[in-house]
């Protein structure tokens, strides 16, 4: 009884999760430059992180 449903060519293929993630982001008109914030370099100019090895660093905003 599922014939014609799962094999419906209009249904998404096996890369469905990637397509869904892309769709979610584009629907909101968002264009992040990176897939995720995994950083393999020294972080520069961050006054928050310049505070060193403290567990939490916080600054007041104006």
């Amino acid at each position: 009884s599922f014939a014609g449903i799962f094999d419906d060519p209009r249904l998404p293929p096996s890369d469905f999760p990637s397509a869904q993630a892309e769709k979610l982001i584009r629907e909101l008109n968002l264009f992040p430059k990176s897939d995720t914030n995994i950083i393999h370099r020294n972080i520069q100019n961050s006054s928050l992180l310049a505070a060193g090895e403290k567990k939490i660093v916080e600054r007041r905003l104006r």
């Binding site: 449903i5 469905f16 990637s18 869904q20 909101l28 430059k33 990176s34 897939d35 992180l49 916080e58």
Partner: protein
């Protein structure tokens, strides 16, 4: 922050903060957060907001739903008259790791389940309250929407467990609220065809046909349970065929708000958030340096797939039994996490007050004398169907959403009117 200020509030008086927390149980991860002290009283409750996706940054809600400011077309900020910081000390966290300004230098820090997510947030809260000891006695509430329907019960359980075990600092958890959330996929996925039929999105024959997908979906989700792995991935594919089938009939309908259409592939335009946060002056104000802003992360989204179909409702009854309040609210025009599916899992949940909750009447939720929603409550459990709203209730009904938060955190969401024959949810 380029704030256009016409409110008379002195900028010097504002307690607005941005911070990084170095996650204790990680290789090299830091969570970024915004913290806004209450615009009114320091003794207001502390409220954490969790944005869903999974993998979307907290700034999405901060700028477009319930934060202190909204972004204008010329990328300056204006006060949000209905920001939740009017009644609470408000905390937005970019999470899970990899989202927003939160980052790691080790890919192993990407989280795959609620255990990882809730432990990171618990550890952050512990350190946050060490940094803000003046807030530790305040009532604490967890809020959020969409995929946060998974995160929120997990974090509530983690905090409750930590409190009971006298682990670290006691967090004064009083309740948690889930807005248009995904919490119990077994019930919510099989409700899609019924909601779509009720709202005229599909016909009866289409409903009958799509319903053929429900038994295999139920079977797959049953195998997934609360901690399955491969079975959960399988059920993601099987069950999403239900939603996709409905959308094939819905055309360009906006699945976050069925009253609207998506123009091309565009359902909402949140692009100003990215433009704003990528400005040099703003980045300097935040202190984030050259860390990129990842508005929504596809990698984080995919990493959480194994978690998607797991039942996050299972820990809730224990919280209710211990008097922790839960509010489930849902905008009535959202399809993707629709009110009917949410109502059904809340009604089906096994706890000591189940029968009384099911039997309790629906009463109007009044804001300024107008019905803003329909409310049911028994004991610590409340369910609110919000009128004229889609997936993002604080964006669509900001005044009602602020009232909801205010009354719920103060225990006045549901009060008897002076006329004993009429129960109304009003001040």
């Amino acid at each position: 922050f380029p704030l256009f200020d016409d409110s008379g509030v002195s900028l010097e008086e504002l307690g607005h903060h941005a911070g990084y927390y170095k996650i204790e149980h990680s290789h090299a991860a830091r969570l970024f957060y915004f913290f806004f002290e209450s615009r009114n009283r320091k003794s207001d409750p502390v409220v954490i907001w969790l944005t869903g996706g999974p993998g979307c940054s907290s700034e999405l809600a901060m700028f477009y739903e319930n934060g202190p400011f909204k972004i204008t077309k010329n990328l300056s900020l204006v006060w949000n008259e209905y920001g939740w910081d009017k009644v609470s000390n408000l905390l937005y966290v970019d999470q899970p790791v990899g989202t927003g300004f939160s980052y790691s230098s080790d890919r192993q820090d990407i989280r795959h389940d609620e255990n990882g997510v809730s432990n990171d947030l618990y550890d952050l809260l512990q350190t946050f309250f060490d940094e803000h000891p003046d807030l530790v006695e305040n009532d604490f509430f967890i809020t959020g929407e969409s995929y946060a329907g998974h995160y929120i019960p997990a974090l509530a359980s983690r905090i409750h467990q930590g409190n009971k075990a006298k682990e670290g600092t006691h967090i004064n958890l009083k309740g948690f609220a889930i807005g248009n959330g995904l919490t119990d996929p077994a019930i919510q996925y099989k409700t899609y065809p019924d909601y779509a039929l009720d709202m005229g999105i599909i016909t009866k024959s289409q409903h009958r046909r799509i319903n053929l997908l429900v038994p295999p979906c139920e079977l797959a989700i049953g195998a997934c349970g609360t901690d399955g792995t491969l079975s959960c991935m399988t059920s993601y594919y099987v069950c999403n065929a239900i939603f996709t089938s409905i959308m094939l009939h819905a055309g360009d309908m906006n699945h976050y708000d069925i009253r609207k259409k998506c123009e091309g592939s565009l359902c909402y335009d949140f692009s100003n958030m990215e433009k704003f946060l990528n400005q040099q002056s703003v980045r300097e104000a935040l202190g984030v340096g050259d860390i990129e802003f990842v508005s929504c992360s596809p990698t984080v989204y995919k990493a959480m797939l194994v978690d998607w179909m797991r039942n996050s409702e299972v820990g809730i009854p224990a919280l209710l039994e211990d008097g922790i309040k839960m509010l489930v609210y849902a905008g009535e025009y959202d399809l993707i996490c629709n009110w009917l599916g949410n109502s059904r899992w809340v009604h089906a949940m096994q706890w000591s007050g189940k029968e009384e909750f099911v039997a309790s009447p629906k009463v109007p939720f009044l804001v300024d004398g107008s019905e803003a929603g329909l409310l049911k409550r028994h004991g610590p459990l409340s369910f609110l169907k919000v009128h004229d709203a889609g997936h993002m209730v604080p964006m669509d009904q900001p005044k009602a959403a602020l009232e909801m938060l205010k009354r719920w955190t103060r225990g006045t969401l549901y009060e008897k009117s002076s006329n004993p024959q009429i129960l109304v949810a009003d001040m």
